[in-house]
Symmetry: C2
């Protein structure tokens, strides 16, 4: 998926989002343009909910033609899934060294709590990112797959698991689902930040207790 660049020759705006895979930037200029679009999406998406974000507005504020915007991001779902993917990438780059003698499942808990606080600082944007990542079909939105993979890599690295078992993969998937759910519940008024912390740490302890490299009970 990720490597298939589409050849767009005309200037027509693709109306049907799923009809064609989004273009991947290949030159430095294209990369800069894509980054500029993502920064604009962060700014506009922090101010208004997904349904009120206009692709025209994003194109104008990014100083790109509307056709260019649609070429990279065929829909708002693609755009905000990409914003989420970039955010999760940044979490991976900024992982602090764990405090000494911290249990691996608490290392993961600390990471997810810190990431949650960071995301929840901009609740409107977080809502759009989660909604996009949640509803994006992995077959058509390559960033949705990228988010899953980066999340999985962060957790497995923190646990010191190099070759995950089938069960490890399942545990990480369930943990990600809990994390999304907790974030969503916070965003829609179901839980306080204290509950967010508590729930994330409990999910880490309970789910990760049966990872393949967990210490055996004595």
């Amino acid at each position: 998926m990720a490597g298939s660049t589409s050849k767009v020759t005309g200037e027509t705006v693709p109306r049907i989002a799923a009809a064609r895979p989004p273009a991947e930037p290949s030159s430095p200029e294209q990369h800069d343009r894509r980054q500029r679009i993502l920064r604009t999406a962060v700014r506009i998406g922090s101010e208004k909910p997904l349904e009120r974000v206009q692709m025209h507005e994003v194109a104008k504020a990014s100083e790109v033609a509307i056709g260019t915007l649609y070429r990279y991001f065929p829909s708002k779902i693609h755009l905000f899934a990409a914003v989420m993917a970039a955010q999760v990438d940044r979490f991976r780059d900024e992982i602090p060294p764990p405090a000494p003698a911290t249990h691996p499942e608490d290392v993961v808990g600390d990471l997810l709590v810190a990431a949650s606080k960071e995301l929840l600082r901009r609740p409107v944007l977080a809502t759009s990112m989660l909604q996009s990542a949640n509803t994006a079909n992995v077959a058509t939105v390559s960033d949705a797959l990228k988010i899953d993979r980066t999340f999985s890599a962060i957790v497995l690295e923190s646990l010191g698991i190099e070759v995950p078992s089938v069960q490890d993969v399942t545990l990480v998937r369930l943990l990600m689902q809990c994390w999304y759910g907790v974030l969503q519940s916070s965003l829609n008024g179901r839980m306080s930040m204290a509950d967010v912390e508590n729930d994330i740490r409990m999910a880490c302890r309970l789910l990760l207790a049966s990872r393949s490299n967990a210490p055996k009970p004595e």
Copy 2:
């Protein structure tokens, strides 16, 4: 929330969803009308995605005035959260007796797998229900709170827990988040039905192992 009926005197359509709590039916006729609307929403919502469902179309097919529809369901989010609440209520009424000698966490697993199969039979409707239940704010959409409570009651009853501890409440909440996440992942092409079953059962076993009435390890 649930008991506060709004007095709507005019025929104007409330444009701002959150401005007024939805009306609760009090007479048998009102109850019938609400049920008729919900049945229409199931039918139309099984055919087209949430963003293409028109409130006008739902009103017409339910043979109610558009003002009446908005009085019960101020937005599509309210409407499909109510469809989900009715569905979860039905799951509660139809719980089969557990097979003899089944572990309580597997009883819950069986229930959730059966409920998932039922929901995933109509994927378009399931997507709209989940999206609505997920994004509904509990302060303004009373059915969102109702779904949480009914889900919690189903799980606690199946586990034989009458007075849940704080930890029990957290476990049930995390389990619900896993369940939503698994359904969502199935709907957006991330996992097969076999994975759905496997993940739900594993979430039940791992999360529910530390419930307050779990057998102590020997």
